[in-house]
Symmetry: C2
Subunit: 404 residues, 2 copies
């Protein structure tokens, strides 16, 4: 019983995005007056500011009309939808996909990640993860009783690429790591791994026979002058040892349908389907039909969506650049930024509460991404452009009030 209690004590959700409404407000010594402004919840994107792919709802409606065949799909997803996606994703990712054996639909990218983690992590297995990286990666390893092996990433120290410590990665592989799990673009910094880094990861994984799960959720949102290298497109790694994860919840704003995809290793996908059979059976059948619109957006729609986000990123970066004591790596992809603050007189938890109470701004504490990030927070800048920039000004003002 103790171990189950321990496990769930580590699985906190109080600071998780979207859960702020459940936080209890303790008394704290607030400095100064509240700052008025449009509330901004940087913990996730604002799909009202950046609406879903046009035609998504209509695809859902068509799926509903189809009836039973659409409601009760195979656990890995409806066959003709898998076939369409396998074709689109193989073009996108630069390597072929067998729709029958190498692709599975899941309830959201989180759903695909969970199935992949459960399919690969046994008790005591060593799993290498990047710090900082998506918080659920850490939690899933802990839930499945794996052993975390953190790999640092010097995202401030490099001009391009992620700054992953490849020596530490190789050491960890030598020491018996069986799975490497990471996101590209990185969550929370937006750093995109360079081609050289990706080739090195592939080479090391192949040399030490390590399985790899790469979360490429934001790989369609890459900004100007940045090259994105799909791990599965480089020949160094045996494709059966790699699973790629992607989904339409972010750039495409389809999160409300809970759709994600895992593709690559047929061995991993077979297990993921077995797990799916007890986790939630399948991605909601009618929702699966919406995937027909994915990678088939109206001409120019994705380009505009990415350009809109690049413009917001640039303006927010400009605001931080003019603020004293902040450090910000300009991410090359995705909608996250991970600013490092000047030293505060209060805890990070108290700061995020003060920010919410005094400025109506919600951010995700850096400690969700690794224990050493107590001086950072993550923002998802997929927001109304002007509201986001104003909220960053308010955030900086609140930070300044609580500096040591």
């Amino acid at each position: 019983m103790t171990s189950l209690l321990d496990k769930f004590s580590k699985l906190g959700v109080a600071n998780a995005p979207g859960q702020e409404s459940r936080q209890k407000i303790d008394d704290m010594d607030l400095r100064g007056e509240n700052i008025a402004g449009t509330p901004v919840d940087f913990s996730h994107g604002d799909i009202d500011a950046h609406p879903p792919i046009p035609g998504s709802f209509e695809k859902f409606a068509e799926g509903f009309q189809v009836g039973g065949v659409q409601a009760y799909t195979e656990y890995r997803g409806k066959q003709d939808i898998r076939e369409e996606l396998a074709e689109k994703l193989s073009v996108f990712s630069g390597a072929p996909i067998d729709a029958e054996t190498e692709l599975i639909l899941a309830p959201g990218t989180q759903g695909a990640l969970f199935l992949a983690a459960g399919a690969n992590i046994g008790r005591g297995d060593k799993v290498a993860i990047i710090e900082p990286d998506y918080f659920a990666n850490r939690k899933m390893v802990e839930f499945f009783d794996g052993e975390l092996v953190p790999i640092p990433m010097d995202y401030f120290g490099v001009q391009s690429g992620s700054g992953i410590d490849l020596e530490r990665l190789e050491e960890s592989f030598k020491s018996g790591v069986k799975l490497f799990l990471f996101s590209n673009p990185n969550n929370p910094t937006g750093a995109v791994y360079s081609r050289a880094e990706i080739v090195s990861i592939a080479t090391l994984a192949e040399r030490y026979n390590v399985d790899v799960i790469v979360d490429q959720l934001y790989s369609r949102q890459i900004f100007s002058d940045c090259e994105f290298t799909h791990l599965r497109s480089v020949p160094e790694l045996n494709p059966e040892n790699l699973l790629t994860i992607i989904g339409p919840s972010k750039t495409e704003s389809l999160s409300g349908f809970r759709l994600g995809v895992g593709f690559g290793s047929s061995r991993m996908i077979d297990r993921m389907e077995k797990l799916q059979a007890i986790v939630s059976l399948r991605a909601a059948g009618y929702c699966q039909a919406v995937l027909r619109q994915w990678f088939s957006e109206p001409a120019g729609w994705m380009e505009q969506r990415v350009a809109d986000h690049e413009a917001i990123r640039n303006d927010i970066h400009g605001v931080f650049s003019n603020a004293d004591g902040f450090k910000l790596r300009l991410g090359e992809g995705g909608s996250y930024l991970f600013p490092k603050m000047p030293k505060l007189a209060i805890s990070l938890a108290d700061f995020t509460k003060a920010l919410r109470l005094q400025a109506d701004v919600i951010v995700t504490p850096g400690t969700e991404f690794g224990p050493e990030f107590g001086d950072s927070f993550r923002i998802n800048f997929s927001q109304d452009h002007q509201a986001a920039v104003e909220a960053i000004h308010r955030t900086i003002e609140i930070v300044n009030r609580y500096r040591v």
Copy 2:
């Protein structure tokens, strides 16, 4: 690594409902000609014959229009929807529910079951389950490294009630079982637990401090002259040690939206939400809106739906009663029946394949519900009435061809 392989080798899905299209066809010695008739897939209900609650799609459309607030709900589900449901479900189940702490939405009833199992089963924990009962119960216990303690149910030996062996249940509780997981009405037999049985279960669970998860998925589909007792309505059991699970996927034909609910123990629900945060975040946000139509069906709609199913059940029971060598317990609730066949000259796996190939009828092998049910199969009779009855005639003919 071995343990993970072992685990997944037990998590087979080849015989799971809806997966038949992935079965490989081996050569087998088929007897006689094929029998023509409307194909019937008894592995799950036919929602084209019994369509979703009127107005469901419109609720989804309203949810989509709401936008971001509906897409990004708390992990436990949108607050106002939880409030509506807490009220309806407390009336239905005969005991109060706090919407804030005692109810969670999940991606399907399967999703709720998985979260509940993960929140309660630690490595080595003894879990009592009924044989026969829903196959995923067994698989979840195995996945979470629990220890199965099977409790027999003499469903042929009783006129009413389930026939649960209460002595064995008490012995198992004495021997250290910490969780009892069962479905009422029983899946696959349709047997409804008597009030006396439910009170005994509550009394024993309280006496030995055992947590209980009861899957009442079909508790709205109870046939004439049968009383259904909600476990949570009897005062013997501490409500904090009980979780009830229900969802609109079956009688209400909303499976394509993947919606389920767990309610009761706030301690279990807190953990379930933590698990939800890494499993799939939440039930699809837009789909959650469909729950507004649940328990708010048009006047008379549910009564008609239940009456339609009772009529199909009765006719199928009549056909089996006239067939030689079959034994069938008439279930008092739900859409499942679990006929026992006369002795066959071929394996159950070969029989189900022959039935599919020669008569276009799909059934679920009894061994999915417990190792000793190699002479039984499950049907979900929520089908087109006439097609179902004809398919049962074909099934009996195929059985007769392969009798010893």
